[in-house]
């Protein structure tokens, strides 16, 4: 008589546990299915020459470009719902992807996160309205990264002769080698701009941080680089002054780091 209620309680508890487990499994698979239906995948390959140019304009989302040792451009993307139209075009050695044009007048369009691999020597020109941009291992004539509003720009192991990185709110990090005669332009409204270059670099510099006056030259401090306008601007030469480097941060800091 005493054991029966006890056994009943035990059974009830076991049933409860089983139900909870089943519910968890159902919830997990349900959630996975929802996520899978909300995100679509896109993938495409292009044969490419050494001087191929990638020109990408995204609406919202991240773009990651990586150089590789193959004569091919590999584009993969994950599309959030409602999925954007992607219609790449190949014209005269340039791969064009323009999500702003391809989705104009559609109203709400989900973010697209690109993962792209290009030959090391490819010219890369990428833009997004909102989101982070990253370019790694590219040594060509051009690397340009432009964010219309907010997002971080990370350029790592870059050997391009023309580099431009522009955003409004967000950090900019450049890590690479400056080419003789090259042009380098970094511009932000609010964020931190960090430039990591070798000590044997040679450049003419105009760096302006009018609001914070926070311009740190680090190891690159020398008598040819002068602070002007109450410390709002640094102007001068480092080395022979072969390349041209222009940095503007309206309401943020600028720092030089020895590579």
């Amino acid at each position: 008589m005493i054991c029966i209620p006890y056994l009943g309680q035990k059974r009830a508890s076991a049933i409860k546990t089983t139900i909870l487990l089943l519910l968890s499994v159902v919830f997990f698979f349900g959630l996975t299915a929802v996520t899978a239906s909300a995100q679509k995948k896109y993938s495409r390959n292009f044969d490419a020459s050494r001087n191929v140019r990638l020109q990408l304009m995204n609406r919202t989302g991240t773009v990651t470009v990586e150089g590789w040792n193959r004569p091919q451009i590999n584009i993969t993307a994950s599309l959030e719902s409602p999925a954007a139209n992607i219609q790449p075009q190949e014209i005269d050695g340039t791969i064009y992807i323009n999500l702003v044009r391809d989705n104009q007048g559609r109203g709400e369009v989900g973010s697209v996160n690109f993962q792209i691999r290009v030959p090391y020597t490819a010219m890369v020109d990428i833009e997004t309205r909102i989101g982070n941009l990253s370019v790694t291992n590219v040594s060509s004539g051009l690397v340009r990264a432009h964010i219309s509003s907010e997002g971080d720009i990370t350029l790592t192991n870059i050997g391009a002769s023309n580099v431009a990185a522009e955003n409004m709110i967000g950090d900019i990090f450049f890590d690479g080698e400056m080419q003789d005669g090259g042009n380098y332009r970094f511009s932000s409204v609010k964020g931190n701009i960090n430039i990591r270059i070798p000590f044997n670099s040679s450049f003419k510099l105009v760096a302006t941080a009018p609001s914070t006056r926070d311009i740190s030259l680090g190891s690159f401090t020398n008598t040819s680089l002068n602070y002007l306008g109450d410390g709002r601007r640094v102007v001068g030469k480092f080395g022979e002054g072969s390349a041209t480097l222009s940095v503007i941060n309206q309401r943020g800091s600028i720092a030089f780091i020895r590579r």
Binding site: R59, T60, V100, Q104, G107, E108, R129, I130, S148, S149, E150, M168, I169, V189, K190, K204, V206, T208, P210, S211, N226, L228, G229, R232, R233, V235, G236, K237, G241, S246, I248, Q250, R251
Partner: protein, 239 residues
């Protein structure tokens, strides 16, 4: 308003030279006519391109030719006086050798000095100044031409440029306002945050320039911030 009327008024519209009635007529037409809107975008691109060539813009269009013309004018004013006061050849011999020598030395000195000053003024600004063309880096000739009203002073150029930028900003802002109802909340919030940030920068520079209108660096940064604002509006008007 039809397209012909709009295209006639577009230039004045961009310069903010239209009265409010005509300007609003142009705005209404641009909102509904894609062709005219594209034309207006081209205007805005030219305005933007002109920003890149600002340093060249501050130089007189053909300073060498202008200098020659001024030089000729000065000479034409000087010559009659010299011809009137030209002494008879016989009187020249009344000057002593020392007086004549002193005269020649004086002329040689003055012309050498003028040549040195001229060469110095015509050379480009030093490498340190390669980013800006401000009052401090203006040549004497440019300052003189500015005072005579032959070329714009940097301050006048800045004011003109701000007027142009304000007109373009107003145009793009109207387009953004018609588009933003279609944006999702994240895009709207991001746009507003960024616009607020750039407006703060603009206000900051304007306050500095009110206190010190000669602060060229703030003038330059104000120009950059206004361009950034225009770019932000233009790029979001596509969404």
């Amino acid at each position: 308003m039809n397209c012909d009327e709009c295209s006639e008024l577009l230039s004045a519209f961009m310069d903010s030279d239209l009265d409010e009635n005509k300007a609003s007529g142009v705005r209404e037409h641009l909102a509904v006519c894609m062709d005219c809107a594209v034309l207006c975008e081209d205007f805005a691109s030219i305005v933007e391109a002109s920003q890149l060539g600002e340093s060249a813009e501050l130089l007189p269009p053909n300073s060498q030719a202008l200098w020659c013309r001024i030089n000729n004018l000065i000479e034409s004013e000087v010559k009659p006086e010299t011809s009137i006061e030209e002494p008879p050849i016989r009187r020249l011999w009344h000057l002593s050798f020392a007086q004549m020598a002193a005269g020649f030395v004086g002329i040689a000195l003055v012309s050498s000095l003028l040549t040195i000053v001229g060469i110095k003024n015509y050379t480009q600004p030093a490498a340190d100044d390669f980013t800006t063309r401000s009052a401090s880096t203006q040549t004497t000739f440019e300052k003189l031409a500015g005072k005579l009203g032959l070329v714009e002073t940097p301050q006048q150029a800045r004011e003109r440029r701000i007027r142009e930028q304000m007109a373009a900003i107003s145009y793009w802002n109207d387009r953004v306002q018609t588009r933003r109802v279609q944006w999702d909340r994240n895009v709207r919030d991001a746009f507003d945050r960024n616009l607020h940030e750039i407006d703060q920068a603009v206000t900051e520079y304007q306050q500095i320039l009110e206190k010190d209108p000669q602060d060229e660096l703030s003038g330059e940064m104000l120009d950059t911030a206004m361009s950034d604002k225009m770019t932000l509006l233009r790029e979001f008007s596509d969404l």
